[in-house]
Symmetry: C2
Subunit: 266 residues, 2 copies
């Protein structure tokens, strides 16, 4: 039996999210079907976490257990030959049997991208949220800083999702302007371009509540458009009340950039 | 009567090209419908030239004559509110009655983008041609140089299109590696990145024969993958025989970047 870790990239536009759902196309279903075509085995492919309908991934991580004699490079090529072109396997690796993509994840990096120019390039329409107000990215960045560290993020959680605690630790949170060259990068943004029309919100944390990145992005948007003063963000955090925060930003501007594991795990 | 010049960007994926065709969606039809919705007038919108099915544009230029009291900025906003999101009006301007988007065009810049990394980012699948051979971009660039200047480009013309002469003048022709930040730029590429997986072919000429950029791109691809020596390109040019050149590269990697006019015309 082989134990395999996959790094996956996908355009979420055509899928009802990662998780298999009867009657709706999902990324998980597509990957599991490709694995079955390659190996003849119906095995679950388990991701680091769900992504919602329309959310994209640059470095989703998943694991599976199957029998195959193909080396990892061949598995990458073969799965990519079978998969639809909006889902790609970036890499494959053998890992210890104990590796679990969900439970061993130590942190994730998400990116939310806003465009505040007058006209959105048509090729970006599925990947950024077009906001027709010139955004004060410096105010957004300052407001974001108070969310760094360990807090109860109930104010930024869509209710209904099961979880034991709403305390999470944000280790990295920036709102910065940069050009389109960074859109598909697996690295955190470095190299700001003050003249660009794109504002990147990047958040790394040990875990995320349901819709947390999108609620933070909608809140920072309200600061950036000067609808709210930046001082309101600590008050929203302290309120632990979802009604105080900004709107849930639409799914299509959100990317799961990468998932971090202990080097011992994989 | 107003005489208006539009600069348009579009994602060609869902269209059978610029030109109106009965029973098939076209960019021209969509723009003419939007103008009719805004002004109540059915008027032709005339472009600098056709783009083929699947070809994209960053700076297509078109003109129209209509009655409207809206200022240009309002025309931009109003048309973008009506148009599908894969077609955008970038700008509008009043021009002299004599301005003709086709006949006054002095030159165009096209870009063809190849990706030669092992795995294509899923978000780029509709905008670049994925070639699974590592390309020798320096050889492609050297081979391209011999096409500069005034020549009979019959070897790079798909037959069947009406034209008086197959002589054209190429003023700019480069094949260079760069990152994805340049994909949507209206400027010629500057700033090469030797580590990038994208090879940009950029060609400016006073006019283009049918499929000329795509035939040149397919020829340079054969040089880049070392299937042909770079010295073959002058021979192909001299042969004036389409069968000697490389394959017509697929439409989805091609962008009409910009159209040049005499400043007196518009």
């Amino acid at each position: 039996m082989r134990h395999i870790k996959l790094v996956l990239a996908y355009d979420g536009t055509s899928y009802f999210g990662w998780e298999r759902q009867k009657g709706f196309p999902s990324v998980q279903q597509a990957v599991e079907q490709a694995v079955e075509s390659l190996t003849g085995q119906r095995v679950p492919v388990v991701a680091s976490g769900r992504t919602d309908a329309g959310v994209h991934a640059l470095g989703q991580v998943a694991h599976l257990h199957c029998e195959t004699r193909h080396d990892p490079a061949t598995i990458v090529r073969a799965l990519n030959a079978i998969l639809p072109r909006d889902i790609r396997v970036c890499s494959a690796a053998d890992v210890p049997e104990s590796f679990h993509a969900t439970y061993d994840a130590r942190g994730k990096l998400y990116r939310y991208v806003l465009h505040d120019g007058p006209v959105l390039d048509p090729m970006l329409r599925l990947y950024v949220w077009h906001c027709p107000w010139r955004l004060d990215d410096a105010a957004m960045h300052r407001a974001a800083r108070c969310l760094m560290g360990t807090h109860d993020f109930s104010s930024f959680e869509t209710s209904g999702a099961p979880r034991q605690t709403s305390v999470r630790t944000i280790s990295h949170l920036t709102a910065q302007r940069a050009g389109p060259g960074h859109l598909w990068s697996r690295q955190p943004l470095h190299g700001v371009d003050a003249a660009a029309d794109l504002v990147y919100i990047e958040i790394a944390a040990d875990g995320f509540l349901y819709n947390m990145v999108r609620a933070i992005s909608g809140t920072l948007l309200n600061v950036g458009r000067r609808f709210w003063p930046e001082e309101c963000v600590p008050e929203i955090l302290a309120a632990r009340d979802r009604r105080r925060a900004g709107p849930t930003a639409p799914a299509h501007g959100l990317f799961l950039v990468s998932v971090q594991y202990d080097s011992a795990a994989a």
